[in-house]
């Protein structure tokens, strides 16, 4: 075990897997010589060589499309898209192509690929660099959506992602890169998809969240605890496949629920979570399920992003409103 930041945990996973499996190669803009604009791939090109850690031209669509070809030729590519927002420049290769390799070939061909990409707010970036887009990809069948919030989860889930036979998008929270740090096993381990993580046990209300919103929700839960409100906090970890059983039992435990995510509210993944709770946990609910999310607007300029990204105060207010609903 070692204390690692999330960025170090990601680097640890990549190094371990590249040692373990010769087929794994990394490709993307600035990942080689520079080691990545956030240093996620720091040192890897020097260690594994330029044929396994590849600096590509500036062209997202062909980065993803060629990764599909590399996978079909027998390699295990882990392409990086420098910021999640720019996956939209490769949208058709991800959604029309990668997501459908297996289906189109009636199960005879497949693409074992993990797209790594950072996102998330309150880091003062230009347009597109912070946008949350997981719902757009969750609605694209054929892709798995993996969103770790801790360093330990990041390493275990990344190893699981690279080994998964399906295409995976691995979302890395920017703020978490250096601000999130916890005890991480130094050796090989994986975390299965479709199993949520219980962060805090409680009895008054269940807080459901993932990824960049986890630190915000943890902070709100702690402050609520000091005011005598007991929160049960779960991190979904993977949106596709989703831990439906775990989610339902976490909410049945308290009968009240607040879902928190950074992405805009309308048609965000919170809508799917709440729809499932309505179908499967209805009779255990004491109050309507609430949602704390960004407003339905583009991720704004740094000068106002603090008003856009859900914060602890908004989460605490939603919890209190839920509890007042009797």
């Amino acid at each position: 075990m070692a204390e690692m930041t999330m960025i170090e945990a990601i680097g640890s996973a990549l190094r371990l897997e590249m040692e373990r499996d010769d087929r794994v190669i990394l490709l993307g803009e600035d990942i080689g010589q520079l080691g990545g604009v956030f240093r996620a791939t720091d040192g890897l090109r020097q260690y594994f060589g330029p044929n396994r850690v590849i600096d590509t031209p500036l062209a997202e669509s062909v980065i993803i499309g060629s990764a599909m070809g590399l996978a079909l030729s027998g390699l295990v590519p882990v392409p990086e898209i420098q910021f999640l927002g720019f996956t939209q420049n490769a949208f058709h290769q991800i959604c029309q192509q990668l997501a459908r390799v297996r289906f189109r070939s009636h199960g005879t061909q497949s693409a074992q690929i993990t797209i790594r990409t950072p996102f998330g707010g309150n880091v003062r970036t230009p347009e597109f660099h912070s946008d949350s887009m997981e719902a757009q990809f969750a609605h694209t069948t054929g892709i798995k959506i993996v969103m770790p919030s801790s360093a330990k989860d990041a390493k275990g889930l990344l190893l699981e992602s690279i080994r998964d036979p399906d295409p995976v998008i691995f979302f890395e929270p920017l703020r978490g890169y250096r601000l999130v740090s916890d005890e991480v096993p130094e050796g090989d381990y994986t975390i299965p998809f479709g199993k949520l993580r219980t962060i805090r046990e409680g009895d008054d209300v269940t807080l459901v969240t993932w990824s960049a919103s986890v630190p915000v929700v943890e902070d709100a839960a702690q402050r609520l605890a000091e005011q005598g409100i007991s929160c049960h906090v779960v991190d979904l970890r993977t949106l596709v496949p989703l831990d439906e059983e775990g989610l339902v039992s976490a909410v049945e435990r308290t009968g009240r629920c607040v879902v928190v995510h950074e992405a805009p509210a309308t048609a965000g993944f919170g809508a799917e979570v709440i729809s499932l709770l309505q179908e499967q946990a209805f009779y255990s609910l004491e109050a309507p399920v609430k949602r704390v999310a960004a407003p339905d607007g583009p991720y704004p300029q740094p000068g106002v992003e603090q008003f856009f990204v859900p914060n602890s105060e908004l989460v605490m207010r939603a919890v209190k409103e839920t509890l007042e609903d009797r």
Binding site: V62, G65, G69, G74, L75, R102, F103, H106, G194
Partner: protein, 360 residues
Amino acid sequence: MTTFFEPQFKPATCAVEPIQILQTDGSLVDGARPGLSHEQTLEGLRYMKIGRAMDERCWSMQRQGKLGTFAPIVGQEAAIMGSAMALDPARDWLVPQYRELPAQLRHGHPGERIVIYRQGHPAGGVIPDGVKVLPFQVSLAAQLPHAVGLAWGMKLQEQPGVAIVYFGDGASSEGDFHESCNLAGAVGAPVIFFLQNNQWAISTPRATQSATVDLASRAPGYGFPGVSVDGNDLLAVYQVTADAVARGLAGEGPTLIEAHTYRLWAHTTADDPTRYVDPAEKAQWEARDPIDRIERYLENEGVWTPETAKKTNQDVEEYVEDIFAKAAAFPPPEPDEIYSHIYHGPTPALARQRRWHLAD
């Protein structure tokens, strides 16, 4: 308008002459030597005829409601088979668009799977293990990055081989064409970009598609050579493709081949070309039919005799008949298909949806 500078790079003022070995009347161009033996040429002709026979049969079935929409290859048989003959199906990848049927057959793609695909059966998507083809691509040019990746992957793994990718003049306007060419050049991928310029993208004529005089002339912009070839000349198409394969195998990187040909039938069974094709232009290209040209050449060589013709046509008929017999043996698809092969194993959500819907 006068400028401060004199541009070093200007658009060509006239098109290059496409490479040709066989003239329209089947006689060899002066000094040209075919790279295919008589036997190989007959083999190419056989597949060209299979392609045309498949189109005739499929078109008729479509009109009777027994088959869905598909894209015929009529007029483009030499471009398709000339290039295919330069490949090794055991070593090379063939990445189609949707207008290359006989090339796929030669490469090992079972014809009956293609027929049931056209009939809307999900099992038509099957690519048998070891067959190096990708499924049909409906999203134009999306397959070009895949081909670059396949070729690049072979290079990185030090495996001999090339990937050929087929697409049309219309598809060459897509962003994926440009990104793919650029990456292929940058990494030296052994990929052959085979552009079938059949003069049409549904109803959009070639001149509307781009201001460039030659599509092949784009290649140097991406750092590799472009070749312009008479796409209705089986021998010339074979030769330029074989040379491109040799380049790829020798580590010299990509080649762009523009095969000038013509789409004699409709874009697909759903199209009506009488609304936009000039009959006089079509008649000119009918006179350059690639199958006629090869038959005349082989006649001149003393190889295409009435006996050979009869035997070849019989072979073609049997080959096509066999495909349709096998296709007819497939049972109709089950509802379960819509829940299958989406992920490696179903997600909880999919499993739940299937349970409720199919209740077994």
